[in-house]
């Protein structure tokens, strides 16, 4: 039993290092510390096992996830009502630019397509940047507290061929968790 658990611990440690997405690495680390806690139990140390399970598996994972949510996920909402070929082409171009931007800044791009209005998105959804495509016109909306927004606007003016307008949204900053 102990041999199987130790082999699994090594496999999960390698997976946590080798995986591409940070969120997955955090989940692997959580399972890793759960297995470590099981190992302690098999070595007749139940009190250490309890401490490892509570701190390594619960508190550390939650704090890592909050940190990732605050700094690393770059959530872009793409709003459009049109379904023409031109709109699709524009979407692919913007997607490419955003991907290269997020790779340069070491962010994790999360692009959401939606047909809601800007008011709905700002009221109910966690967003970093909102892009609206309307009648051939592309506009980027962002928060002033978001320190990636100015970089993104400058990057798009430099690297992208599309003509883009930008505007700031004013809103008090909410706290998001999970």
């Amino acid at each position: 039993m102990i041999e199987i658990t130790l082999v699994l611990v090594i496999i999960l440690a390698i997976l946590a290092i080798q995986t591409n997405t940070l969120r997955r690495a955090i989940v692997y680390l959580c399972v890793f510390s759960l297995l470590c806690s099981f190992c302690y139990l098999l070595y007749q140390a139940p009190d250490v096992a309890i401490a490892e399970a509570v701190i390594g598996c619960t508190l550390a994972t939650i704090i890592y996830l909050v940190a990732l949510n605050k700094y690393k996920v770059f959530r872009v909402y793409y709003l459009t009502h049109e379904k023409t070929a031109e709109s699709k082409q524009m979407r692919t171009t913007l997607n490419k630019t955003l991907s290269s931007f997020s790779i340069e800044k070491e962010l994790e791009l999360d692009m959401v397509l939606s047909d809601k209005t800007i008011e709905d998105i700002t009221a109910d959804y966690p967003y970093d940047v909102i892009i609206q495509y309307d009648k051939g016109q592309v506009t980027i909306y962002g928060d002033q507290s978001n320190y990636h927004f100015d970089d993104l606007v400058a990057y798009m003016h430099d690297k992208s061929a599309v003509i883009i307008q930008h505007a700031y949204l004013y809103e008090d900053e909410g706290d998001t968790l999970l």
């Binding site: 139940p46 309890i50 509570v54 619960t58 508190l59 320190y147 968790l177």
Partner: protein, 128 residues
């Protein structure tokens, strides 16, 4: 800002007292079953996180937590000193047990306050 899942809130609301009782059990029985002050305090502090997920807009006084933690720190320093001066060498089992339980409970509350402060500062103040 974000709408929360009512399923999550209700199931965590049911689990909340159970986790709290489990932490209390581990703390109080620390002298004869596995566990103790630190582990019990850490489990109790996970109920703080649950409370935050259920009702995030509730006001939490960071200042009170810090005062309680400082007070308990002086208690944790004072009680063993007094114990060593007055009771050292006594074989009275009851007094020893009471001493261990008191120390475990004090350490549990201190760990609860400390981890809650860490979580609170991290989630609410360290914004992007």
């Amino acid at each position: 800002m974000q709408n929360r899942s009512s399923l999550l809130a209700k199931s965590l609301g049911v689990l909340y007292p159970i986790i709290f009782l489990f932490g209390l059990y581990i703390t109080i029985n620390g002298h004869n079953t596995p566990g103790g002050g630190f582990q019990g305090g850490a489990i109790i502090s996970s109920t703080f996180i649950i409370q935050y997920i259920i009702s995030p807009h509730e006001k939490i006084s960071l200042y009170t937590f810090q005062r309680i933690e400082k007070l308990l720190f002086t208690c944790i320093l004072l009680i063993p000193t007094l114990y060593v001066i007055h009771m050292y060498g006594s074989n009275n089992l009851l007094i020893n047990q009471v001493y261990l339980i008191i120390m475990n409970v004090l350490i549990a509350i201190k760990v609860y306050c400390g981890l809650s402060i860490i979580f609170f500062r991290f989630v609410l103040f360290e914004s992007r």
